[in-house]
């Protein structure tokens, strides 16, 4: 039997913390513990993501649950000497609340986590994702065991009464989807997990796959049992190598344990899983394109009907859900639908993971009950806007979504309210923008993304998004035309109504919602040739005002020699030469350079 360790040091090995350096902490810590002869009493556990990626690499020391942030290899000595040996917390590595700047030693007391209700993410960061035993220790595979003791219809009924809806974007009721596939005629059926997460800034699926891969396998197996499928595919983008590695390991472990394969848990249920690596086309997140890609064809969507539930992978009835949806399933099965159904709003039950990015203090992943307000997410969990800047808008739902302005911050978030506000839940990516963000530029950014990711199959998306982007580009470049706004609106209507798949049908949303809430900014660009946020370089200029003391610093820092002036005399910027890099303004000690 494994010897009891008095303390566990959990080091986040998620992609976020890995890239900020967590990989080198583990050997440093191991070396230090060996030197101290403590390797037997302290256990090092590499976990998945904790969500607070901004603060990584994260290290948590149990049993006390002390939460250390931005830990570097040079900090290891102190953690061992002070904390693990002497039992004293290393103050300087503690997390500080952005609002109060107070340190918070305890994981559970950090505001970022306090308002969260972790359900799909419950194990992420708390177990070793490469150990099936740790997953089982955290109640893993009990949901599957329970499902196998019920009949498939009862399983579907349970999922239905939980109110779970697809977490990938559409929000279709999961139980109903399962039922369609179950009712479809056919001996051979498939379950597919859509792990082709592609919205800019969204990474909840990756975190789940990296931090708790067995949860997804269990969810898929339960689904397979419910719909009558004996084979499944996980379509995971190849840009997620760690997720794929963990999934492969997890599948191997589950097969060895008899939790996948033939006669699972002594029942007559067989279920095998394959991983298919996607090559990074955003459109392959669309279910029919995804299936085409698995079949080895060009990843392009096809018109529906027929729906995958009737004619999916290789023409067989197929149920597709995304990672987060499947991750909710095991707990719903194990504990019953009650808890999940008690969370959230009337139409949108349970919790949802949001990815916080942009101009926000705590970038990261937060799982919250549906119905929470945007204000709570951004200010209570996200810690507000950095550098004392003013909040301007939050973009939700990725390239298919829309921007919500300040006046909608108190909107209770669910599928319906967001759609009504011209945004959408999407996969739950939140991009927070402050006063320095230009909303035309934001629309352009998202349109550039969809335009780039359009598969090219249907005319409105292929040609229409290109023309929209061209119009937005010229507006940002100061060449907008009087009728550009109506032209954008007309194109948006046609692309929404006419495109073949959801990628095109939702592509104009970022433009429409910014036009709706920030029309004035568009007009300022077109009519006044001004970018109110000061973001569009073609529309801004730098001028030196009378505060100038003639110190010459700006002249020195200007990369294109656009500034002239004698020492102690007021300097001048040559607008024709200036490339608007802003270096002079940043350097000026007297605030003598204005942007406008």
């Amino acid at each position: 039997m494994e010897k009891l360790a008095r303390a566990h040091v959990l080091i986040c090995g998620g992609t976020g913390c890995s890239s900020s350096g967590s990989k080198v902490i583990i050997p440093a810590l191991r070396e230090k513990l060996q030197a101290k002869g403590m390797e037997g009493e302290i256990k090092i556990v590499e976990t998945g993501c904790h969500g607070l990626c901004e603060m990584g690499p994260l290290v948590i020391v149990y049993p006390e649950g002390v939460f250390y942030i931005r830990v570097q290899p040079t900090d290891v000595d102190e953690i061992v000497e002070t904390h693990l040996i002497k039992g004293r917390v290393v103050e300087r590595l503690l997390y500080r609340e952005p609002a109060t700047l107070e340190t918070v030693p305890d994981y559970d007391d950090i505001a970022f986590y306090k308002k969260q209700k972790r359900y799909a993410l419950i194990n992420c960061g708390h177990i070793n994702p490469e150990s099936i035993e740790e997953y089982i220790g955290a109640d893993g595979y009990e949901g599957l065991a329970k499902a196998l003791s019920m009949n498939p219809e009862e399983v579907i009924e349970e999922i239905k009464s939980s109110g779970l809806r697809g977490r990938g974007g559409g929000g279709f009721p999961t139980g109903l989807k399962w039922q369609f596939t179950r009712s479809a005629s056919g001996d051979k059926k498939y379950v597919i997990c859509n792990a082709d997460e592609g919205d800019p800034g969204a990474f909840m699926d990756r975190s789940i796959l990296e931090g708790d891969p067995h949860r997804v396998l269990e969810g898929m197996a339960i689904c397979g049992y419910a719909v009558g499928a004996d084979e499944g595919y996980i379509y995971c983008r190849a840009e997620y190598p760690l997720a794929i590695k963990r999934l492969r390991g997890a599948i191997a472990q589950a097969e060895e344990a008899g939790l996948l394969g033939e006669g699972i848990l002594g029942s007559g249920f067989n279920f095998t899983l394959h991983i298919k690596e996607g090559a990074g086309a955003f459109v392959c997140g669309e279910e029919t394109a995804l299936m085409a890609s698995i079949e080895g064809r060009r990843g392009m969507p096809r018109p529906r009907p027929p729906f995958p539930a009737n004619s999916g992978l290789w023409g067989k009835p197929t149920n597709i859900n995304n990672v987060e949806t499947f991750a909710n399933v095991p707990s719903i099965m194990r504990d019953g639908a009650g808890y999940f159904a008690s969370q959230g709003t009337e139409t949108s039950k349970g919790t949802k993971v949001f990815a916080l990015t942009g101009k926000i203090n705590n970038t990261g992943l937060a799982e919250v009950p549906m119905g929470i307000t945007m204000r709570e997410i951004i200010y209570d969990i996200g810690g507000g806007i950095p550098d004392g800047k003013k909040f301007k808008a939050v973009q939700i739902g990725g390239p298919s979504g829309g921007c919500l302005p300040e006046q909608l911050l108190d909107l209770a978030i669910d599928y319906e309210s967001l759609a009504k506000a011209g945004a959408m839940m999407g996969s739950g990516g939140l991009v927070v923008m402050d006063e320095t963000t230009c909303m035309v530029d934001v629309a352009r950014y998202f349109l550039n993304f969809t335009q780039d990711e359009s598969c090219g199959k249907c005319t409105p998306c292929r040609e229409g998004t290109k023309r929209m982007l061209e119009i937005l580009n010229r507006i940002c470049d100061g060449n907008g035309r009087e009728d550009d706004i109506p032209l954008l609106e007309s194109l948006s209507r046609s692309i929404k109504a006419g495109s073949l798949c959801a990628l095109g049908q939702t592509a104009p949303n970022p433009v429409l919602s910014t036009l709706n809430f920030f029309r004035g900014e568009y007009e300022a660009h077109i009519k006044d040739h001004k970018c109110p946020a000061g973001a569009c370089t073609a529309l801004i200029g730098y001028k030196i005002n009378e505060k100038c003391r003639g110190c010459g610093l700006c002249k020195k820092v200007c990369p294109v020699d656009a500034i002239s002036g004698e020492i102690k005399a007021m300097h001048v910027i040559d607008e024709l030469v200036c490339i608007k890099c802003g270096a002079c303004q940043a350097k000026c000690p007297f605030k003598a350079i204005d942007k406008g």
Binding site: A281, R298, R302, P303, P305, Q451, D452, E453, S454, C455, G456, K457, C458, T459, P460, R462, E463, G464, T465, K466, R467, E470, L487, S490, L491, R493, S494, K496, A497, G498, S499, L500, Q505
Partner: protein, 582 residues
């Protein structure tokens, strides 16, 4: 539930109730209700893609508009084809296509035959609101038959589907994505570097001028204008049954006499008939079959008149080359005969003869350039134009084609039998060969000369003929290369116990060829087939070996079928494509 509601759906289109089969799409149902929904990527004979988004309609309760060409009807469905959002979206979609398309309609080869142009006109598009980047790509004219202009492509993928579904070849694919998408052969290679058979089926389905036949009409005008040249023309059996469609006749009208008349007015020195050479082909091919039967030659023997098919064999299945008849195609036999026999008879210097062929076929342009087809001592055939190019030449002349008198072909190479005429239809070469082979083999007169078992549009048609003495001749006919491939696979598996196989690369045979007038669909093919067999039935001679001109040719000049001169002039050989590409 009654059987009617099991198979039929009642739907409402623009307030009008229609009951249609449940297998119908909205587009089909609308047509039944007298509403023609505009469409571009949809083609009745190809898989439905729903990618152009022109045929959009509004379905009550639907989240967005639906492509009516792919959307199946269901009972109780309410459809609107003419609402403001439908009109606006259709118009915008076509406008978007035009914004990425050259504005050269006035001098485009497809002017007045372009489906995009027609739809833009129907939808009343008066300006394009978008001006930005356009696809820029080189024209591919690397081969003798087909010109590919990717800038005119609207990515409807009809060519991709036609090549794949009809011919099983997949020459075209979509490369890149989004706005950079382009339809092209793999790796952007030219059509001369891929396994294209030049059948031209892609050009028959392309709604714009992205895929067209190579235009060789100017070479013909140049030859006709050159006083030093003696210009002769041959016209293939299918040309006379499709040409009228270009001048407002309904499909199936035959314009042989007017066609001869117009060729004379163009200035051809002699107007001959490929049908004559078709009879010649039967003589040689029929005897070759009997020779193979008697002497244990390679069987089954396969026809070699269709250049798309020959190209397919050389490219994809060089291992079955020994099965191909060594007989040249009628065009090839005509070419070799006109510069030898005719030149000698008429005292024309063969060096001055320009031999022009009017063909239903784009691959014939390639065939004429085969290096081995120079047995006359010159290029056997100099210029090949398709039916479509021929029609354009007639229009350039400004002549009232339909008002022309009926005229006769010149002799001696203008007289033909019904057997030569039916070469244009799938099964026609087989039937013509059987008429002759039977009589040559048995020495008896064939009473019932209609071999109905090899006629019609079924993809693969098996039949047999009792030649007496226990000799049952087993034959099979296939059209399209997809069906041809099936037979090739049977041969390779040793499962083909046929004696004789006819293959034509195009659906319906030459009358559905890659160079025939637009549009071509099943109904049109059927009408053309009926015309061909009606013409055959009215012919004075119906068996190739009874054609007096053919008899005279053999008796006075050519010698015997398969004889020394015939062997030199009328037979050829085939080369695996690897060798040719080297």
């Amino acid at each position: 539930m009654s059987s009617v509601t099991d198979t039929k759906a009642k739907i409402t289109i623009d307030g009008q109730e229609v009951t249609v089969p449940k297998s119908y799409t909205i587009l089909q149902a609308a047509r039944a209700a007298g509403i023609n929904i505009p469409h571009l990527c949809y083609h009745p004979e190809l898989a439905r893609e729903g990618n152009c988004r022109v045929c959009l309609v509004e379905i009550e309760g639907g989240r967005s508009l639906a492509a009516s060409c792919v959307y199946p009807v269901s009972d109780g469905m309410k459809v609107y084809t003419n609402t403001p959002i439908v009109r606006e979206t259709r118009k915008t979609v076509v406008e978007l296509m035009l914004a990425n398309h050259p504005e050269d309609c006035l001098f485009c080869v497809k002017n007045r035959h372009c489906e995009l142009q027609e739809i833009a006109a129907d939808l009343g598009i008066r300006k394009v609101r978008f001006h930005g980047e356009r696809r820029s790509a080189e024209i591919d004219d690397s081969n003798p038959s087909i010109v590919r202009d990717p800038e005119k492509c609207i990515l409807c993928t009809r060519c991709v589907r036609a090549c794949s579904e009809r011919q099983g070849l997949d020459i075209y694919c979509i490369a890149n994505r989004g706005f950079g998408s382009i339809v092209e052969p793999a790796f952007g290679l030219g059509l001369d570097k891929v396994a294209c058979t030049y059948c031209g089926q892609c050009t028959t389905v392309c709604p714009t001028a992205a895929l067209t036949e190579r235009d060789d009409t100017q070479s013909v005008w140049d030859a006709l204008a050159d006083p030093d040249k003696y210009v002769v023309v041959q016209t293939a059996p299918s040309v006379r049954i499709g040409l009228g469609e270009e001048f407002g006749m309904k499909s199936g009208g035959i314009v042989t006499g007017k066609m001869v008349a117009v060729l004379r007015r163009m200035g051809f020195d002699k107007v001959f008939d490929t049908d004559f050479a078709a009879d010649l082909t039967i003589m040689e091919e029929g005897h070759e079959l009997l020779h193979r039967l008697k002497n244990g030659g390679v069987l089954p023997m396969m026809t070699s008149c269709s250049p798309g098919w020959v190209n397919f064999v050389e490219t994809m299945h060089p291992e079955i080359i020994p099965h191909l008849s060594s007989a040249k195609s009628p065009q090839g036999m005509f070419g070799a005969t006109v510069k030898t026999f005719f030149a000698e008879r008429s005292g024309v210097n063969p060096a001055k003869i320009v031999s022009v062929a009017v063909m239903p076929c784009t691959a014939k342009k390639w065939e004429a350039k085969r290096p081995q087809l120079n047995d006359s001592g010159y290029r056997d055939v100099d210029i090949v134009i398709t039916t479509r190019e021929f029609a354009r030449m007639i229009k350039q002349m400004g002549i009232d084609f339909m008002g022309l008198p009926e005229e006769e072909f010149d002799s001696p190479m203008g007289l033909s039998s019904g057997a030569g005429q039916i070469f244009g239809a799938t099964g026609g070469v087989m039937e013509a060969a059987l008429r002759t082979a039977y009589e040559v083999y048995t020495g008896k007169t064939l009473e019932n000369i209609d071999f109905r078992g090899v006629r019609g549009l079924d993809g693969i048609k098996e039949s047999s003929v009792d030649l007496g003495d226990g000799m049952i001749l087993k034959v099979v006919v296939a059209h399209t290369l997809r069906n041809a491939e099936k037979l090739v696979q049977r041969i390779l598996a040793g499962e083909a116990d046929y004696h004789f196989i006819e293959i034509m690369a195009c659906p319906g045979g030459c009358l559905g060829g890659g160079g025939m007038p637009y549009p071509t669909d099943t109904d049109i093919r059927r009408a053309r087939i009926d015309a061909i067999y009606n013409a055959d039935a009215r012919m004075k001679y119906r068996k190739s070996h009874e054609n007096p001109a053919i008899k005279e040719l053999y008796e006075t000049w050519m010698g015997k079928p398969l004889g020394e001169r015939a062997h030199r002039l009328l037979h050829t050989h085939y080369t695996p494509i690897e060798d040719r590409l080297k």
